[in-house]
């Protein structure tokens, strides 16, 4: 490979001198030495140093989350190039770049909007010739980008996307997800929630009327139904609803024991605060399926005592988690958020797979990731499943802290980390049953 790189570097200079890039560059590469080993595909072979593209929300309501992701991506690139953090412990990684190349990166805005995200991804693929993209703060964005990545044969490492569809009916060969999904959230919530609230409850659901909300709703119905609870009703709230009071006032106070608010982010903050306003928390328990930091910030004291799941939390106490927290804190003087840990982990996972494959050739890298077993990101024993590219992992369950105990970067207490053995589903059932990954090439 080392020979191949030298050739690439010199070719890059030639290309640059000619002022040409894109298509000309690609056709020029066709006869190169590295191309003889593996045919050109997507942005392979790379010209010069590998470029990673990070697509995060930099404007819009989730921009604070996006900034935290970007911090983690920068940290990951720094560690890959110079060592530090997990890189020192992962045997696949050297701390001297990837395959001896210093990693470069570009970043761009998704605005939590599928259209903007795809345009940004296109720019990274075409102009910056990124070999891998990562990022995202919503499922619609992740699904839009990964569909493009499959077409363009560029790898995508999802960041925060919780919908079943990402590794279900919209799954693609070129994308991998470390984050768990709605299905697994529901499974994870059952043990601690039934332990606290009992096995015989009536529950009522409000859910956002789009794929994410629908998958959460059906998952909750199924798993809490199986746990012996009975569902009173599920009501869909259209996206774009800000005022949920009309929906909330229809919840039967006398019969409902537990209320699920299956809304994400700001919608979740609004519905939760409004439920508090109406005093529903005095008559019943409330559960939100997925917390994130912007939501906790916007909901303030309303999250007190409310069960939910998070991608990861800095209070999780094991060596990889602590190592990441301290490295992040050292660099930015901040407590990292869950998506930051995902961003960091997925970048390193990709780099390690490249090292194992010995090439950036995407089909090889994909095969290295498929079915890979690992225990190095602080979520216990994990498998990146080959059939749907969904990580099989533990899921942290948390409860919101009272307003007085909330601090910058700390909004939850960890109740339980539901282990992998209690979660998941086979390759032919649940979301995975609908997944067809598509071709390698």
């Amino acid at each position: 490979m080392a020979r191949g790189e030298n050739i690439d570097v010199s070719r890059r200079d030639v290309v640059k001198m000619a002022g040409a890039s894109g298509l000309v560059g690609l056709s020029g590469v066709a006869g190169s030495a590295s191309a003889q080993e593996n045919p050109p595909i997507g942005n392979f072979p790379i010209q010069g140093n590998p470029t990673f593209g990070f697509t995060v929300p930099q404007s819009g309501p989730y921009s604070s989350e996006g900034q935290d992701e970007l911090r983690a991506y920068r940290l990951a690139v720094e560690h890959l190039n110079n060592g530090g953090g997990w890189v020192d412990n992962w045997s696949d990684l050297t701390g001297n770049g990837v395959l001896g190349n210093q990693v470069e990166f570009v970043s761009g805005d998704t605005a939590t909007d599928a259209d903007t995200a795809r345009q940004t991804a296109r720019r990274m693929i075409q102009r910056d010739r990124a070999i891998m993209l990562s990022g995202g703060s919503s499922s619609a964005v992740a699904i839009a980008i990964q569909e493009l990545c499959q077409r363009e044969k560029v790898q995508y490492m999802c960041c925060l996307t919780h919908s079943n569809d990402t590794t279900g009916k919209s799954c693609v060969r070129y994308s991998f997800r470390e984050m768990f999904n709605a299905y697994m959230s529901a499974q994870a919530l059952v043990p601690p929630v039934t332990q606290e609230y009992g096995n015989d409850n009536n529950f009522y659901q409000l859910y956002a009327d789009y794929t994410w909300g629908q998958t959460v709703q059906s998952s909750m119905s199924r798993f809490f139904g199986e746990a012996g609870w009975s569902e009173l009703n599920s009501v869909a709230t259209p996206l774009g609803t800000k005022d949920f009071s009309s929906y909330l006032s229809q919840v039967p106070r006398d019969r409902t024991d537990v209320l699920f608010l299956n809304h994400y982010g700001l919608d979740g903050a609004n519905s939760l605060s409004q439920a508090r306003d109406m005093g529903l928390d005095q008559d019943m328990e409330i559960i939100v399926p997925l917390y994130n930091r912007p939501m906790a910030q916007a909901a303030g004291g309303a999250i007190e005592g409310v069960f939910g799941t998070v991608a990861w939390d800095s209070q999780i106490d094991n060596p990889p988690s602590n190592q990441f927290t301290s490295a992040f804190n050292e660099k930015y003087s901040r407590v990292p958020s869950g998506p930051a840990q995902l961003a960091y982990a997925q970048t390193l996972q990709y780099a390690a797979a490249v090292e194992r494959a010995g090439t950036f050739y995407p089909p090889e890298v994909i095969r290295q990731l498929e079915g890979y077993n690992y225990n190095n990101i602080g979520m216990g024993e994990e498998t990146m499943r080959a059939c749907d590219h969904q990580a099989q992992r533990a899921v942290p369950v948390v409860k919101g802290l009272p307003e007085g105990e909330q601090q910058q970067g700390q909004f939850f207490e960890i109740v339980n980390v539901t282990p992998r053995s209690k979660l998941g589903y086979a390759c032919d059932e649940g979301p995975a049953g609908e997944c067809e990954l598509g071709p390698y090439e």
Binding site: P61, P238, G240, S246, Y247, S249, Q250, L266, Q297, A298
Partner: protein, 311 residues
Amino acid sequence: MSVLAEVVTVALNGLQQGAIYVLVAIGLSIILGTLKFVNFAHGALYLIGTYAGLLITLEINVTDGKLADWGYTPIGLEWGFLPALVIVPSVVFAVGLLMERFVARPFYDRPDTDQILLTFGLAIVVQEVFKILFGGQSYNFARPGWASGQVDLPIVGTFPEWRLYIIGITAAVVVLVYGLIEYTDFGLVVRAGTRDAEMVELLGIKLSRPYLMVFGVGAALAGVAGVVGGPLYAVNPNIGTEILVPSFLVVVIGGVGSITGAVLGGILIGETLAILVAVAPQWSQVGIYVLAAIVLLARPQGLLGVEEVTP
């Protein structure tokens, strides 16, 4: 829940949701009716009001914006809600005066298309400035402690206290503004100006001062809406543009320049939303646009509008 209770609850919810639109729409409507000025930046005034209210009432942690970079975090006065209810409208009133003088006045003689374009651009600028200062994140505008509980109403049962206050404050403000326009000399000039500005000027009454006042009052109302409506939803830089579109619908449904029209339009939209949520939630968002289109087509001047302002 009995049918009666359900009907009353839906009605009350609709009233409360409409209240904020009413406050924003009255300002929009009298500015459009009197000054013939289309203000797409009216939502920005609501935005300013909400953030001002947030900062006066509470102390917030800015984590992303430039303010945080400059070290202004936490920021806020923590004076509580009642001072905000007085100070914010005054602040936004002043902003309104500046806006009339430097933005609207040079554009009074331009076609309304130009006015829309100018204020549309201005709205973007204000929104982006807030985003840069406070970050894109959302803040929790906590309700004041004395109004964050619930009250037991007859028939309905438990109802959030804050939402009752919103209905009350809105009603009081509406009565105040109605009195101002209907029963004072200032109001007389304004009403006359609405009918025929040229004639009023010919009679030797200078309209620039009342015009300035109209703009200020309209802006102050958006400020009130920002303070009382802010605590209902998460506060972020997009709330200004989000409230603008429904508010414009309220104005055209009710009739341009008519205060009672704006009240009626706001309640209609609020109730439509609330009823559709109870009956066919999928159609609730579509519903208000259908309502607006039907009203505009069946009664072009709006329900309580006198006649068309401009062809």
